[in-house]
Amino acid sequence: MKAHGSVHKYGDNVDTDVIIPARYLNSSDPAELAKNCMEDIDPEFVKRVKPGDIMVANKNFGCGSSREHAPIAIKASGISCVIAETFARIFYRNAINIGLPIIECKEAADEIEAGDEVEIDFDNGMIYDKTKGTEYKGQAFPPFMQEIIKAEGLVNYINQK
């Protein structure tokens, strides 16, 4: 499985309130949530994002509220993968559980810039920055989490057991 797209770049501690503000949590419809994704940190994001694009951020991405609406909104906006130095733990679980690919990689998070064309090979965890000509190896998931990812989410994984 591969992803390929243009990068949207953010800094440290991107919280789930800015990913999807609570004023929109009166809906749980993915398409509707996607319309307001990142609104309080990057009002132009929804206009700029194209299917397949990649989000890159630094430390503690997805901190704060446990709202699963946050990874749902990112996924429904067209983002194919989020790369960060670290993820807040609830966001990490939620992303895996709903089938939003995420990768932890400090070097990639530090060096990749907004607008770079990036390709990701999920089979070997490699990240290629086509604009810069650099490559990075993401942290491997434990086998148990790989099984959830392969099943495309926790519910399918439990159903298959």
């Binding site: 501690n13 919280d15 309130d17 800015v18 503000p21 609570a22 004023r23 949590l25 009166n26 809906s27 749980s28 309080d40 940190i41 430390k59 503690n60 901190c63 704060g64 509220s65 446990s66 709202r67 699963e68 609406h69 990874p71 749902i72 670290t86 807040a88 733990r89 609830i90 679980r93 939620n94 559980n97 709903i98 434990p142 148990f144 989410g153 926790l154 519910v155 399918n156 439990i158 159903n159």
Partner: protein
Amino acid sequence: MGMTMTQKILAAHSGLDAVEAGQLIEANLDMVLGNDVTTPVAIHEMEKFKNQDVFDKDKIAMVLDHFTPNKDIKSAEHCKCVREYANAHNITNFFDVGEVGIEHALLPEKGLVTAGNVVIGADSHTCTYGALGAFSTGVGSTDMAAGMATGKAWFKVPSAIQFVLTGKPAKWVSGKDIILHIIGLIGVDGALYKSMEFTGDGIQYLSMDDRFTMANMAIEAGGKNGIFPVDDTTLAYIKEHSVKEYTIYEADNDAVYDAVYTIDLSQLKPTVAFPHLPENTKPIDEVGEIKIDQVVIGSCTNGHITDLRIAAEIMRGRKVAKGIRTIIIPATQAIYLQAMEEGLLKIFIEAGAIVSTPTCGPCLGGHMGILAAGERAVATTNRNFVGRMGHVDSEVYLASPAVAAASAITGKISCPCELE
């Protein structure tokens, strides 16, 4: 190798003699919680399971606390969805308007969580019950659904940071000031993936409400859970509120911690977190002149009866400054009633504050006190992220009920000591 308190609870709930940090386990759950924002998503996920039955109708709690009383039509539809599901599946612990309180104040008060339990909740502040000596942690809606269906959840066993609390806090220094100080010390990702285990002789001076406040905000340091040892204060609370069987777990003497911080509570001052992260803390004497527009005293963090008593002590016989909208939200119906019987509500209303029905409301910018562009609030809530209480250009300063009440009187962020 010795185990931390959290590791002992997780081992016992996974049928294992011992666990170590990093190990993946599947733990049996004593309670699975959701609210009106997260439960509709979980119900939607539940519909995808082959088996539609819940694992135990007595071990699921659904609490309609965030956008209730329904703030708009969409919120009303969400609450209706949860209500219909709860009725169809005979969910014992379903709390609707009239019985509802803010979930993390309500569950301990109703005795639904107790020492030694493993609890997950589709709300990040589920870590609150660590105050009772339980392992409890926030998850998302899909984990909630899996918990409802199977009674189990997977965890990576966390390592821990130990906080040794010594000494007696000074007057006007509360659990809120202690946890804000700690978050300022280690940062908003200082405890990422880890347990925050509190210990030391200073704990004897902390009320249960102080401990709930501190465990509640473990998530604001990135923690998986925050946990306190069980002492006489805990046991008195448990006996008053719960008939559930409880188990006391203690950390081994040779338990391994990633880091140990010793904090002399007698040296702490009232502490305020500046926008837009809970780690941006300053002691009250370094705050400077910050004029405010609104004060909120409430939330799962600080809507307890002791919080209201402290606020009333400061507001008694005084008036809030002209133009300061002061919103007081008892966390549960029982706290509301208690505050009424003690005359606290009269003090608040005579001071020019308003008192609301229990709701999470303004804490997450839902309703009941949204800020306009350029406005500032002092709040006893738990997050001061960009846009958290309203407009993206508004500001939230996090503080204790004492500081919030004093600030309402003066119209700027103030130490209650200034009013003495």
